[in-house]
């Protein structure tokens, strides 16, 4: 599905990431790659370390050891600002939108364009509409619509489009379909696919196997803080991924049985 091959150098690469909270070792030598034009799904059970991992990438938690490479260069991400400056945008599960503002205002929140002291509404409105159109989002009537009046899927769409507006290279989506109905999930998954098609590296965190198999190019499964497998979607089946999530291994795939057992 991906237009670019797996050989493309990753935009974002994590090598040997370790993270502990006190005595609890949450991430063990985690390796992860996000390639341009591809959707990488990060799957794992509750407590597998998915949230901690994305918070490390987003600059909310510092890592204990290991390195983060962005476009081949070693970088240190110490705050959400650092992440944003590199071009990493995170769309969190609890949407960071202000209900009382309209779509365009939300998309430019905190980074408003001005002419002198006056807000440049015209250019912001045009840019917001162009971004939505580029992502083929055609379900909103006006970018001057208040976010409060949007459906859950439309809100998620706006949150994702907001991330795209800033020339981001990597977009991290935390459970984007968790609270959505069938039709709205469809809208958002289409959008995720288009994000990759427009050259973004997408990291999709999801519990939903259907979603993962529909949009992902690669699947990285976390099991108790370790990467159980990093595989092409085409190479695995549904049930194999479920096994990787629940027991850390599936046939030849996954952690060595000794490692998996000792982790438990």
């Amino acid at each position: 599905m991906g237009t670019l091959s797996d050989n493309e150098p990753p935009t974002l690469e994590l090598v040997g990431i370790n993270k502990s909270f006190g005595a609890i070792h949450v991430l063990h030598d985690v390796n992860l790659a996000v390639r341009p034009g591809q959707v990488t799904a990060l799957v794992g059970d509750n407590g597998a370390g998915k949230s901690t991992l994305i918070k490390c990438i987003a600059g909310i938690h510092p890592v204990d050891s290991g390195s983060i490479l962005f476009e081949g260069r070693q970088v240190s991400i110490n705050s959400p600002k650092d992440a944003a400056a590199l071009g990493i945008e995170v769309v969190y599960q609890d949407l960071a939108l202000a209900d009382n503002l309209d779509i365009a205002q939300n998309m430019f929140l905190g980074r408003e364009r001005t002419k002198g002291v006056v807000l440049d509404e015209a250019s912001m409105e045009q840019a917001a509409r162009e971004t939505l159109a580029r992502l083929s989002v055609r379900t909103v009537k006006s970018v001057r619509q208040q976010v409060a009046s949007l459906s859950g899927g439309q809100r998620q769409t706006v949150a994702i489009a907001k991330a795209v507006l800033w020339d981001s290279k990597v977009v991290i989506l935390d459970e984007p379909t968790a609270a959505l109905g069938v039709a709205q999930t469809r809208q958002v998954l289409d959008l995720v696919r288009r994000l990759a098609e427009t050259g973004h590296g997408v990291l999709l965190i999801s519990h939903n196997m259907n979603d993962v198999f529909e949009v992902a190019d690669r699947i990285t499964a976390l099991f108790l803080g370790r990467v159980a497998a990093d595989v092409k979607r085409a190479d695995v089946t549904h049930s194999q991924v479920v096994e990787l999530i629940t027991s850390g291994r599936s046939g030849d795939l996954g952690l060595a049985s000794s490692t998996a057992a000792e982790s438990i």
Binding site: A96, L109, V118, K141, V143, G152
Partner: protein, 430 residues
């Protein structure tokens, strides 16, 4: 400024709507009937805007006109009513900033008294000019606001508690400045003129004409720019209609106030009170800040979702602190106008029900107590409603307790509308 674009809200959750999608409202001009239908949807979703205040005002005017036909609508009384509304409106405009963040400033009323007391002492005892005295009153306002702001924004004490403490503390300071049972008489010509003198007729007309023309030009240019760049815009007839409405209000008001309202037929007494252009200037400045600047946008964002604002890189603490400073500065102006109207400052200036009136004015005008929704003009609209109640009741010679009961009831009524509107919004939106 007002952005009264009717917000279309007819997307049914769960459907990828085809009709009414594809930025249809942005790329072509809406017809008037569509705009009206969208406005109807907005109203049904609980966003009533200025409607309750306008209908409330109309009902009150009719009520008092029926109850005291000769007095209430007399030219002298209407002018008097407008002057009564000045201090309440200015205080309410300040409170709009605080209410937009979902906070409250219970000390705004007594802050206005304390600032007026500072001005009074400087005018009378130090013998300073009005310029320096007013400047010091405003500086005291800034200081009070900064103090509240630091405690609320950075120490995270609920604003209710901080300002309740200051409500008592500032009354103590005013009492210390003026002395028990004392009053500071104001003789300064400039200060007295604010609420007691009228502009020359020609100047009133000049100001009214300039304001109307300015408003029309701004609105028309904006529409023309939006139309040229194919941006979301309202139907042209609605823009023209709004300009005509505002022009009729401003010019009609000026005409009315320019009529001779003297009881004695041998003298002429008329003109727009000096306080009116002052409030008009504050309205324009504050509306500009809230509606057209980055800072104003950030106030709305923090009030709507402070977590989203924080993640967007907005310095939420500074925004929160600044609104208390703005509120206290406007309170200082309110106190100065009140002092002008009474020709004196008393230790209980701004105490009692002053704050209740101002909060009531802002909420009646359409500002939400839950934060994120409101406009500066709400303060003025609500201020006029409140002043109408006070004025009308006074003419009816009802005992003072009625005043308290009715104003309290009105505030509760407005807050109920606000709460119901909020519930409808969360039910219709997501």
């Amino acid at each position: 400024m007002s952005t009264e674009t009717p917000e279309p809200v007819d997307t049914v959750p769960g459907t990828a709507t085809v009709a009414g999608s594809d930025f249809s409202n942005d790329t072509r001009t809406q017809s008037v009937s569509e705009a009206i239908r969208d406005y109807g949807v907005t109203l049904r979703s609980g966003d009533l805007g200025a409607l309750p205040a306008l209908f409330g005002l109309l009902a009150l005017v009719i009520l008092f006109w029926v109850l005291s036909p000769d007095l209430f609508l007399s030219k002298a009384n209407i002018a008097n009513l407008l002057v009564q509304a000045l201090p309440v409106s200015i205080l309410a405009m300040g409170l709009v900033f605080v209410l937009l963040l979902g906070e409250i400033d219970l000390s705004a009323g007594v802050a206005s008294g304390a600032c007026a007391a500072v001005m009074g002492r400087l005018l009378v005892d130090a013998g300073w000019g009005w310029e320096i005295s007013v400047l010091f009153a405003v500086i005291v306002g800034v200081a009070i606001g900064a103090f509240i702001g630091i405690l609320v924004a950075f120490m995270r004490i609920p604003s209710f508690v901080v300002t309740l403490a200051l409500f008592l503390g500032l009354q103590g300071i005013a009492l210390r400045l003026i002395g028990e049972g004392g009053t500071v008489p104001i003789h300064d010509k400039f200060i007295i003129a604010l609420a007691n003198e009228q502009m020359p007729i020609w100047l009133g007309w000049t100001c009214a004409g300039a304001t109307t023309a300015g408003y029309a030009i701004v609105q028309l240019l904006r529409w023309q720019r939006q139309n040229a760049r194919k941006l979301a815009r309202r139907p042209f007839p609605l823009v023209v209609g709004q300009i005509i409405f505002v022009a009729v209000m401003i010019l009609g008001g000026t005409y009315f106030l320019s009529l001779d309202r003297a009881a004695n037929p041998n003298v002429f007494f008329g003109g727009v009170p000096w306080g009116v252009p002052l409030v008009g200037a504050l309205l324009i400045i504050c509306s500009f800040v809230l509606g057209r600047t980055k800072y104003g946008r950030h106030i709305y964002a923090v009030g709507g979702n402070s977590e989203a604002a924080r993640r967007a890189g907005i310095r939420v603490g500074s925004v929160r602190m600044s609104v208390f400073m703005i509120c206290s500065v406007l309170a200082a102006f309110s106190g100065i106008i009140a002092a002008s109207r009474l020709n004196s400052v008393t230790p209980d200036a701004g105490a009692g029900n002053t704050l209740l009136y101002a909060v009531g004015a802002a909420v009646i005008g359409g500002t939400s107590l839950f934060g994120g929704r409101g406009k500066i003009r709400d303060g003025i609209l609500g201020g006029v409603v409140i002043a109408t109640i006070i004025n009308g009741l006074l003419l009816l010679h009802k005992p003072a307790y009625w005043n308290y009961i009715i104003t309290g009831g009105f505030l509760l009524f407005a807050a109920s509308i606000d709460a119901l509107a909020r519930r409808r919004r969360s039910a219709s939106g997501r």
